[in-house]
Symmetry: C2
Subunit: 244 residues, 2 copies
DNA sequence: CAGTGGTCTAGACCACTTC
DNA sequence: AAGTGGTCTAGACCACTGC
């Protein structure tokens, strides 16, 4: 009864449906925040049972690609929604209060990527990348200094003005203005002593300990599109992680 | 047809089955590394369909409480298996090679918990706790200094000799010797400057930057049983995290 | 009330492991 | 060949949302 033939490496039907759904998402057929068709409609479209579509969507929901709402529908995940923020911003104040960061963008320039950044973004070393720098303040204190590298092709037209005019999480900005939704990211964390430049930016004694967080973010299809080199001043904040 | 009546706050059958399975695990009915009964047997036991048992086990597998092996059975998760190591040890060498740490235990004493530790372990401030200190070396260099606090009741008879005689991950030791399996943990990470004592232990210049990792680990039933205060020297290693 | 996702069942068949 | 988990189907019914 299965409508797709089996190959040497067996892939269950619901996996294939999942891939088809991902392709539609990648192609922009359904936009972040908007509903995808109902399970019944998709079952009809792909000529499989509702249960099989359900399993495909379950897998996408487990990966936070899609969000289910009983009685309403299934929606494409969006960074413009509050609940999603803390998946990518793993900082919390030590006193348990709410985290409020205030962003100031310092620069936004196109430059040739160095070999390391180019490799991380899967670009040719000669390709240009966009470099953005910003500071975030917590309770008035400069607390986070970030250098952000973006794949040029995807973010054409980005500027210091547009960044500064945006209020809200950066990933919401990418989504609204550049049609780019981040699906997941990997981080490498170290403790480092502040350089003279960093100490200056963050108003610290030189050699103060800072948390160094290198993040690489991926959009649909596991394409890396952003690399961040961040430094967190962690006397009043901490990075939170759950091992499960 | 459902064999359990509904209450004010609706809980689906498979959730209830999941809770029953967790109770059996907590009671030690099935031991880590050993198989639980087949889905058919469990369906018979709880008088539900195989599909419902399946959904309960799916949930437990998603939480890493249990591991499925097609054709063989479903097994209680164990820290004595290689694959599980990296869920709780999130360190990786910068050069991409394999991580090999060599443990040396420094002390193991019973002492009265201070208020903070007692609260984290959900003990009364007057209750005793066990305090263990150890150093881990990476490529000969002292790299990790840890102070570990354990709930006394669960770890009666622990000693420096027994700790030193064990080879392998500590969580495997807890499992084998004290019948205690860790299910999940939460970590709070900061960057700090090394104290004189730490600099001495880790053979560093004073005020070197160290990664401070405070971990609280939980066994079945979300009972906290271990707190760790660890310091990582991160010039050749980094902490890895995936945001998904 | 209709439409959505969520649960539960029963049965058939597939893939993998072990004997 | 027998037993395990894994897939797929079809149908019934439940819970939640919005008109």
């Amino acid at each position: 009864m299965r409508s797709v033939e089996q190959s040497a490496s067996f892939s269950p039907l619901y996996q294939q449906i999942k891939e088809l759904l991902l392709e539609s998402l990648q192609a922009g057929e359904w936009q972040p925040g908007q509903p995808i068709p109902s399970e019944m409609d998709l079952a009809e479209r792909y000529k499989v049972s509702q249960g099989t579509v359900r399993k495909a969507i379950d897998a996408l929901a487990a990966e936070n690609v899609v969000v289910r709402h009983q009685g309403k529908g299934t929606f494409v995940a969006s960074h413009r929604e509050d609940a999603v923020q803390f998946r990518f911003l793993r900082l919390a104040p030590d006193d348990g209060k709410e985290l409020i960061l205030k962003s100031t963008f310092l620069s936004c320039e196109s430059r040739q990527a160095d070999a390391h950044i180019a490799a991380l973004l899967e670009q040719k070393p000669s390709d240009p990348v966009i470099e953005v720098k910003r500071i975030q303040r917590f309770g008035g204190q400069p607390t986070v200094f970030e250098t952000i590298y973006l794949v040029s092709k995807r973010f054409e037209g980005i500027s210091l003005e547009r960044l500064s005019a945006w209020h809200g999480p950066l990933y919401g900005f990418y989504e609204s203005e550049f049609n780019t939704h981040m699906v997941w990211a990997e981080e490498q964390i170290k403790a480092v002593n502040a350089s003279a430049e960093l100490a200056n930016h963050l108003n610290l004694a030189p050699s103060a300990a800072l948390l160094s967080v290198e993040r690489r973010s991926f959009t649909y299809g596991n394409k890396p599109v952003e690399v961040r080199m961040a430094y967190y001043e962690t006397t009043k904040l901490h990075y939170v992680n759950e091992l499960s």
